[in-house]
């Protein structure tokens, strides 16, 4: 009871004002807004992929050998990889499958895996971070070491190792989320632990403890709301990272399996075509690049908006 009174008295009046301030700062950040627009457009396009592909009148799996020049090893006829009214981004060399449909399929996989991985990372990171920060000396010593280990270990190598032993029948996108998440929670846990250590000596937390609140209750009701701002910015930064991890694993041939498409997988087949059909390389390459940059800039803008004193990726005065 006491605890509730204190937190509500402390937090309630300033909360809406702070939200408005953050939004105003974010809107004023042109780079972040550009990132936001691109990110929203891409996510909407990925969600509406079946509709858009239907609108184009194509699909991701039909072969179109008639569009290929067999004399030149199966390069699409026409300039820009056969792009035009019928195939908006051209077709794939040797198969003639529609690139627009495949690129949108790649977008769906990219966002699906990136968001799914984020959930795994946040659950593991917040859980372990809270446990380390609030669990007492022994738990902190053990979990702290575990967090160090998780951060310093080569994520991609372990992901590859794990992917090698899982049977091929396991649904690949879910497997990717689990594997990337399992090796990528260290940063979140370290952030949460650090925040918890600084918050748990605050008066309102002591008040809650004295009024008899349980440890779980303190963790969930008192501490967690206090660390939400840094957590949100950190999570936003994890997203583009997860997109890169998925694309990377698929590029190496260990990620998403055909017939599903992924930007990384498209890029790996495009490696041999960069001279004959540059469009085939540029479509997945630029999509991945633009998306990663958009999400990164947006996350950075969010961080500056939530905490103007924090050092920004984009330098600033200092």
């Amino acid at each position: 009871m006491t605890a509730e009174l204190i937190t509500e008295a402390g937090a309630a009046p300033e909360a809406p004002a702070r939200g408005r301030q953050v939004r105003r700062r974010l809107y004023a950040d042109r780079m972040a807004m550009a990132g936001l627009v691109i990110a929203v457009v891409m996510v909407v396009a990925a969600l509406a992929a079946p509709l858009l592909v239907h609108l184009e009148g194509q699909d991701a799996t039909t072969y179109h050998p008639e569009l290929l020049d067999s004399a030149r090893g199966g390069v699409p006829r026409g300039s820009f990889g056969g792009a035009g009214g019928a195939h908006w981004l051209g077709v794939e060399p040797t198969t003639g499958r529609d690139l627009f449909a495949r690129a949108l399929g790649g977008a769906r996989i990219s966002f699906l895996v990136a968001f799914g991985t984020l959930i795994v990372q946040i659950l593991l990171g917040v859980g372990i971070g809270l446990a380390a920060g609030l669990g007492g000396k022994v738990a902190d010593a053990f979990l702290g070491r575990l967090i160090d280990l998780a951060i310093s270990f080569p994520q991609l190598i372990f992901a590859i190792a794990l992917l090698a032993i899982v049977p091929g029948t396991f649904p690949r996108p879910i497997l990717l989320m689990m594997v990337i998440g399992l090796f990528g929670w260290g940063g979140t846990a370290r952030l949460v632990r650090g925040q918890v250590l600084s918050l748990r000596t605050r008066d309102y937390v002591s008040a809650a403890r004295l009024s008899g609140a349980s440890r779980t209750r303190i963790a969930l009701r008192e501490i967690l709301p206090g660390i939400s701002a840094p957590l949100v910015t950190y999570a936003a930064l994890l997203l583009p990272n997860n997109m890169i991890s998925e694309a990377g694993l698929s590029f190496l041939g260990i990620g998403v399996r055909p017939p599903a498409s992924s930007w990384g997988q498209m890029l790996s087949t495009a490696t041999t075509w960069f001279q004959a059909d540059p469009t085939y390389v540029l479509v997945p390459g630029l999509l991945l690049l633009v998306n990663v940059l958009a999400f990164t800039v947006l996350a950075d803008g969010l961080r500056t908006a939530l905490d103007p004193k924090a050092p920004s990726l984009r330098g600033g005065r200092r």
């Binding site: 280990l149 310093s152 270990f153 080569p154 991609l156 190598i157 372990f158 590859i160 190792a161 794990l162 992917l163 090698a164 032993i165 583009p240 890169i244 694309a247 990377g248 590029f251 190496l252 041939g253 260990i254 990384g264 890029l267 790996s268 495009a270 490696t271 960069f274 001279q275 540059p278 390389v281 390459g285 991945l288 690049l289 990663v292 940059l293 990164t296 800039v297 050092p311 990726l313 984009r314 330098g315 005065r317 200092r318």
Partner: protein, 329 residues
């Protein structure tokens, strides 16, 4: 100091042992039938039983783990009747697909990875540090903003995309270089360097972005310290202040990070090596994973973990050597 070293050494050893156990559990204890994974695709029942026996998979788990450990420290024999394959210490396993100990596979690939990592590191240190210093000296002005913008772009770009774009530009469009083919340094140094240029720059661009940011921050911090102010008041030349005194404070974190990055990239340049077809350690782990050649993946995972652990320890020690104020406890 001695006590610190001893403790650090002990914790490194413990960490390595934990890793060995972890790798063992993942690759040999967890899978339902490791023989299938070890043998690869298309192995029959008779072959499987032979492999089970040869690898000692028909023995209890703890005996197997003991043999696994024994192999690492003193070597072991894989035998089934007359067919004996000896695997000398440190035995990281035996690849039946290649009919070779994992260690000799790694030995064949190591020169490639070393060439790639060393060259790239020289480049990223030169580019990153000079860009960072330049940026710090012109803080807030055009140069600084340009460096910062470029480094956000370089850092954000996935390495296989930036590498592919470089490939398109220099091989496909300008025709200045051919598609890289690895030539050993001992065969032809000029061809070695020419073929590695693109992979080097691909790695260096991404890394230089991090180092530029680190240098810029460190430089700005050091330049605002009191002793620099004193040097300025004495009328020391700016070049000397920046080059000798401010640089010293800036270099410390850079050297530690380099030690770590070197260990990581030596075994973990999978994307770059796959893109450019370089037969290094990173490509080996990817190929083995795709071929389900499990002993190689397990061995390389161990090597990678060990490289990181050792690099981390080296980085901490270097920190104390470079910065005398740091007391290791």
């Amino acid at each position: 100091m001695t006590r610190y070293l001893l403790r650090r050494f002990a914790s490194t050893v413990v960490l390595l042992l934990v890793m060995v156990a972890f790798v063992y559990v993942i690759f040999y204890a967890l899978p339902a039938n490791p023989a299938v994974l070890v043998c690869g695709k298309g192995c029959g029942g008779g072959q499987l039983a032979a492999i089970d026996h040869k690898l000692g998979l028909d023995q209890p788990e703890y005996v197997q783990f003991w043999h696994f450990l024994e192999g690492i420290f003193v070597g072991r024999d894989y035998s089934s009747g007359p067919d004996v394959s000896h695997c000398a210490a440190p035995c990281l396993g035996f690849s039946f697909q290649n009919d070779q100990p994992v260690l000799s596979l790694i030995g064949q690939r190591l020169p490639v990875s070393l060439s790639l990592t060393t060259g790239a590191m020289v480049l990223w240190l030169v580019i990153g540090v000079s860009a960072g210093v330049l940026s710090a000296l012109r803080v807030g002005r055009f140069t600084d903003r340009a460096v910062t913008a470029v480094s956000v772009l370089a850092f954000g770009a996935p390495i296989f995309v930036s590498g592919m774009l470089l490939l398109m530009l220099f091989c496909g469009y300008l025709h200045w270089l051919d598609f890289p083919v690895y030539v050993p340094l001992t065969d032809d140094p000029a061809a070695w360097a020419k073929n590695l240029l693109l992979p080097w720059f691909t790695l260096a661009i991404a890394q230089a972005a991090v180092y530029a940011r680190l240098t810029r921050t460190g430089m700005l911090e050091t330049l605002s310290e009191d002793h620099i102010l004193t040097f300025r008041a004495y009328g020391l030349r700016e070049r000397r202040i920046v080059g000798r005194h401010a640089m010293r404070g800036t270099l410390t974190p850079i050297i530690t990070l380099s030690a770590y990055d070197f260990g990581y990239i030596l075994v973990g340049a999978m994307l770059t090596e796959t893109l450019f077809g370089l037969p290094g350690l990173g490509q080996l782990i990817v190929q083995s994973s795709n071929n389900v050649d499990l002993p190689v993946v397990a061995g390389l995972t161990l090597v990678a973990g060990a490289a990181i652990v050792v690099a981390n320890t080296a980085a901490d020690l270097l920190y104390a050597v470079v910065d005398r104020r740091v007391v290791l406890t």
